[in-house]
Amino acid sequence: MNDAPLAIDVKGLAKSFGTKKVVDDFAIQVPKGMIFGFLGPNGSGKTTTIRMLCGLLTPDAGEGQCLGYDIRTQAQQIKRHVGYMTQRFGLYEDMTVRENLEFIGRMYDVTPLKPRVQDVMDRFGLAERADQMAGTLSGGWKQRLALVACVLHEPQLLLLDEPTAGVDPNSRREFWEMIHDLSAQGVTILVSTHYMDEAERCHRIAYIAWGHLLLEGTIDEVVGQSGLVTWSVSGPDLPALQTKLRKETGVQMAAAFGNELHVTGSDKQALEQAITPHRNDQRYRWRPAEPSLEDVFIYTLATLKDRK
C-alpha cells in the first residue's frame, strides 16, 4: 500500500463547531482505485471529514492533499474532480431527472452535455424515468439519480456519505454493483456506512469515533488487530445465560445473534476460564467462532469509553 499513489493523504485534520470538537487530529491515506469504507457511530465526524475533503468546510488545523490538490488552498480544483453525494437527497425535487442531470452537467462544464446525460441515463437505467419529477422517485431511485449526478463529470474520486441509508436490500445490492463497476474503471471511492455487510464489500475500512481514527485496514487486519476471541453458544434460555456471562470477568461482551449467543473477550485464557462452568452444562452447545466486525467495533468503542 505504501507505494500505491494516494488519492487522499491528509494529517492533523481538526474541526470544531463552537466549543464542540467534531474532528480531532485526524489522518488518513486512501490509495487510488480503492473502495474505502468509513465507519463509525452517529456524530463521530464522518460527514464533517468528508466535507473537509471536498472543500465544503475549511479545516481549523491540519494539511494534506486530495487528488494532488491542497485541501486548504485548492478547493476549487478539488471540486472539479470529485463527486460528492450528500447524505440527504440534494437534487431538485421539482425538476425532472433529465433537467437535474443537465443542470449538474452544466455546473461542471460537461460537454457535449446532452449526449453525455443520455449516455449515463442509459448506462444506469434511468432513461425510462428521464421525464419523471425527481421528487416522485422512490428512495432507491433517488439514490441512483444522486449517484449518476455525481459521476456525470467523470470524477477521479467519489465521496459518498451514507448513500444507502434507508434503501431496500435489492437497491442496495444494485448500488454496490455500480460502485464496484466504477471502482473497476479506476475511480477511487470513499463511502461512509453503518451497514456491516457494506463494510465487508470495501477493500479497506476506517473506524472513527469522537473525531478520532480508531481502526484502519482490511477487514481481516482490523479483526486480527483487535485480538478478540469469540465463542458461540446455543441452547435453552440464552437471555439468562447472557446475564450470567456478562458478570464474568473474562467476558467483555455477550450479544445475541439469532439463536446463538456470541461471547467475546480480549484475553483467550480468561475467557475460556469464564465459560468453563457453562461448557460443562450439557444443555449448551459451544463452538469457537470468528469475532465479527461489529464485535470489534463495539468492543473498541466500549474500551475507549472506559478509558475516557
Binding site: 465544503l56 468546510l57 476549487q76 471540486k79 470529485v82 460528492y84 450528500t86 440534494g90 455546473m107
Partner: protein, 380 residues
C-alpha cells in the same frame, strides 16, 4: 372493536404542551409575535398622523407691507404651515415644490396692500403639491378660512369698513400635479413600490433559504459554482419578475385609474431597476440570516411593515414626528415613492430624481456588501 371517541383531557393537554414547547423554541417566531404588535402600536400611535401640521411652505413676498406679514403670521399660527423658505421668484419656488422640499408656495403679489386698501379684494395665490391630497387637504381648508381672520387686527379704525361684510382678500388655491385631488394618483405610484418591496424581498429570501432547507445548497456548493454565480443567477429572474409587476401596475393605473405619466419612462425604468436591486440584495441578506423559509418570510414582513407605514405611502410623511421621519429616510421605499410620484405626476427629471436616488443606491451597496460577506462558499 369499539371505537373510542371519548375526548381525552390527557391527550389534549399533551398536544397543548407540545405546541407551546415548539412555539417557544422558535425564538424568532416568538419574538415576532411579541414584536409586531409593539411595533404596530408605536407606529400607529406615535408616528402616524393623517392630519399633518407644520407643513413646509415657501412664501414669495412681492409686497413687504404689514398685511403680507400678518397673513404669514396667521398661516403659521393656524399650525398647518411652517414657512421654511423665502424664494425670490416663481422659478425658484417651482423648483422647490418639484423636489418636494416644500408642499406649498404662497405668492403675495407686489401690489397686494395697495389694492387691499382700495377695497379691490385682491388675491393671494396658494400653490399646493397635491400629489398626496391627504397630506395637503386639511391645510388647504384652513387656508380658505384665513381671509376671514388674518387681518382682523390690522383692519381697525378707519379701515374697519374693509373688514365689514365680505372677506377683504381672496385666497386662490392651485392644486398642482393633481388638480382634482384624486387619491388614486397618490396611491397607485406608491403601490408600485410597496408591491415590489413585499414580493421581491420575500421571494428572494425564500428562494435561497429553500435551497438550504431542502439540502440542495450543499450539493450546489460541492460543484465548482462560485458565490457570485449563485447569487446573480438566483437574483436576475426576480429582476424580470419586478419589471413585469411594474408593467402590470402602470398599465392598470393608466387604464383603470387614468393616472398620467408626465415624466420620462426611461428614467422611471432606471429608478425601478435600482429599487428592485436594493430589494433583492435585502432579500439575499435576509436569506443569509434566516435558517428556514418561515424565518425568511418573517424578516421580510418585519421590514415591510415600517416600509409601508413610514414611507409616506399610506400616511403623510410630513405628519410624522422627527424620529419617524429619520427612520423613514433610511427605507428605500420612502425615496422610491417620491421618485415615482415625481416622475409620473410632476414630470420630474434627473435633477429632481437624483437626490432621492442616491439613498437607494447607498442602501443597495450596503446590502450587497453584507450579503456577499455573509454568503459563504463553504458550510462553515
Amino acid at each position: 372493536m369499539k371505537a373510542n371517541w371519548d375526548f381525552s383531557r390527557a391527550r389534549f393537554k399533551a398536544i397543548l404542551m407540545k405546541e407551546f414547547i415548539q412555539m417557544l423554541r422558535d425564538k424568532l417566531t416568538f419574538a415576532m409575535m411579541v414584536g409586531i404588535p409593539i411595533m404596530q402600536l408605536i407606529m400607529f400611535g406615535y408616528a402616524i398622523n393623517s392630519d399633518p401640521h407644520a407643513l413646509p411652505t415657501a412664501v414669495i413676498v412681492g409686497d413687504t407691507g404689514t398685511f403680507g406679514r400678518s397673513i404669514v403670521t396667521a398661516m403659521e399660527n393656524c399650525a398647518y404651515f411652517r414657512v421654511v423658505a423665502w424664494p425670490d421668484g416663481p422659478d425658484q419656488a417651482e423648483e422647490m415644490i418639484a423636489r418636494g422640499e416644500v408642499l406649498f408656495v404662497v405668492d403675495i403679489p407686489p401690489d397686494f396692500s395697495r389694492r387691499l386698501l382700495r377695497g379691490e379684494n385682491p388675491a393671494i395665490l396658494v400653490e399646493a403639491d397635491a400629489t398626496d391630497p391627504v397630506a395637503t387637504g386639511n391645510a388647504l381648508s384652513a387656508m380658505a378660512q384665513l381671509n376671514l381672520t388674518a387681518l382682523q387686527h390690522d383692519l381697525i379704525g378707519p379701515l374697519q369698513s374693509l373688514n365689514a361684510k365680505e372677506p377683504p382678500f381672496e385666497v386662490r388655491v392651485h392644486r398642482r400635479y393633481n388638480p382634482e385631488g384624486k387619491t388614486d394618483y397618490n396611491i397607485v405610484p406608491g403601490l408600485m413600490g410597496t408591491i415590489l418591496t413585499m414580493t421581491l424581498t420575500m421571494m428572494t429570501a425564500a428562494a435561497i433559504t429553500r435551497e438550504f432547507e431542502r439540502g440542495t445548497m450543499e450539493n450546489l456548493l460541492a460543484t465548482p459554482a462560485l458565490p457570485l454565480e449563485v447569487m446573480t443567477g438566483k437574483i436576475i429572474p426576480f429582476v424580470f419578475v419586478g419589471f413585469v409587476q411594474v408593467g402590470v401596475i402602470l398599465f392598470t393605473a393608466a387604464v383603470l385609474f387614468q393616472v398620467p405619466v408626465v415624466g420620462s419612462l426611461a428614467l422611471l425604468a432606471l429608478s425601478v431597476l435600482i429599487f428592485i436591486a436594493a430589494n433583492l440584495a435585502l432579500g439575499f441578506t435576509f436569506s443569509t440570516l434566516a435558517s428556514n423559509q418561515m424565518q425568511a418570510m418573517q424578516m421580510s414582513f418585519l421590514f415591510f411593515l415600517p416600509s409601508m407605514l413610514l414611507s409616506g405611502f399610506l400616511f403623510p410623511f410630513r405628519g410624522m414626528p422627527e424620529w419617524a421621519q429619520t427612520l423613514g429616510q433610511l427605507l428605500p421605499l420612502t425615496h422610491f415613492v417620491r421618485i415615482v410620484r415625481g416622475i409620473l405626476l410632476k414630470g420630474n427629471g434627473w435633477a429632481e430624481v437624483w437626490p432621492q436616488l442616491w439613498p437607494i443606491l447607498l442602501f443597495l451597496g450596503a446590502m450587497t456588501g453584507i450579503a456577499l460577506r455573509r454568503f459563504r462558499q463553504t458550510l462553515d
